[in-house]
Amino acid sequence: MDDILNKIAYCVEFGKINLQSPYPPDMKGLPGADELTQEALDKGIDADDILQKALVVGMEKVGIKFRENKIFVPQVLMSAKAMNMAIRHLKPYFLSGNIKRKGTVVIGTVAGDLHDIGKNLVAMMFEGNGWEVIDLGTDVSAQKFVEELKNHPGSHVGLSALLTTTMVNMEQIVREVKNVAPDSRVLIGGAPVNEEFKTKIGADFYSPDPQGAVEFLNSVASR
């Protein structure tokens, strides 16, 4: 069992999506996260084990390597794609409750801002770490976040902004989120934001990299 889980973790770590994918070049012609996850399920391996012992393990390595500048955005995107392929096979088990999630994160790029690569990377890291992610997309207003929090009580919130002209919109979102859901943790990220800004607007956590955000949420979940 461990062998195939290790293989899936390896595919996620190195971005091997499926049999057809030419990347990484040294795995050309080999099965990827797609086929191996199906194979694991066919062998009767527990879906929760696939998530915890393969996907979480693989994505954690990706997050750490990205934080340490050993890999870059293209490699992380490939890993995320491989992970998504695996997750697709696990969807029925999430829906049936066979896989228990750590919690829910409502994530979005804030009003006025259409940049989504960073937000998408963080969303995929959360998902690969066992969190349910409600991705509201880009240009998301405070009202939309609040509505979604009402639909998913107990969720946490992730806000992204790339621009100095839009990061200021985070403040209103944090205020309104805290009004309706004082226990929700609000995480912020994006090029112009920093620790000082986080404190100023009353958010709970800032991380310059996705892995830091994952580790913070995991620490919240384990309390």
Binding site: Y23, N69, F72, P74, Q75, A111, D113, L114, T164, A191
Partner: protein, 419 residues
Amino acid sequence: MNSKERVIASLNHQIPDRIPVDMGSTGVTGIHALAVEKLRAWYGLEEKLVRIIEPYQMLGDVESDLREILGIDVIGLSPRKNMFGIQNCGNLKELRTFWGQVVLVPGDFNTSHDEEGNLLIHPEGDLQVAPSAKMPKASYFFDAIIRQDPVNEEKLDPVDNLEEFSDISEEDLAYWKNEIEKIKGTNHAVIANFGGTAIGDIALVPAMNLRHPRGIRDIAEWYMSIIMRPDYIHEIFTGQTEVAIRNLQKLYAVVNNHIDAVFICGTDFGTQDSQFCGIDTLETMYLPYYKKMNDWIHEHTRWKTFKHSCGAVEPFINKFIEAGFDILNPVQVSARGMDPSHLKNTYGDRITFWGGGVDTQKVLSFGSPEDVKKQVTENLRIFGRNGGFVFNTVHNIQANVPVENMVSMFETINEFNNA
């Protein structure tokens, strides 16, 4: 020294009489239209609508009256058509923006609105074609709408990604001839952006100017293609470079040495703390093409070559120099490893820093006028030593920058230069 002589001296790493200043010459060294309006009002200049010179980022025209007051030494020349494929010259019309300012845009700048009231712009201004960019109501500029057909590996053809890189038309050459006639004999330094020379600029990948872009147009797909489909990307860059050099030959015949610098590439290699690729990818995937273009320019012209890359690109600067770039912009001093003293001491005699004058993420946008004065003074002192510096903010001045901070910046430069 006049402005032109001042900039040329600095680009040649000689000591100019004053630190030369650029603000408004290119799409990455400009001022947002709202900030231009604030500056014009502050200095009591003629009340007039600001003309948009670069509509993607809504940059305003820094006209000669404002340029003179601010002590700006550089003027810029842009292509006939803007990033949406709309002719940027000719008739103008008014556009009321979400922030209440009325600006002047090209006559063919035809927009529509989506159901949420966001502003949509259409390629070539043709409302029959699906929009290629959107300005959200809470924003101050546009961003691309991704138009990506499903990727079929077997049918991928690099030619599809070369549609926007074609041989320059007679009409465009005539345009450039006319532009050059207008600036002949100017006392200002001139930088031209001919277009077509940027290798893999992610802002250009969605091809907002094309009616129906084909090939790889999604940003994430493009980034993945760099490692997943390197042969495909090489073929694009090879084709693009061949066309670019043919066009540079034709352009040089028209432009000659009436320009001082040429905008080559705005591809961002840096993030806030890291890079978008490893140095090996930079070396194999990008540098050979940059080198070909820069070599041609240096062999045949007196133009200096300008490379823009945001972010923490300190580990790449030696490579940029090896590839033949003369100028680096915007010198993001707020990014990791981009300490001004380190940059100047390590690379300052081999590349000109055109930027880095003041941080725009924090100091200029959210600091006090005193904070601005302090950093501008410090950065002028560091970067200004022995030439090789053109003062410019780290990227464009954004709409929300307080006018007092902009004024503090220009006054500080003036005081430094007069000291």
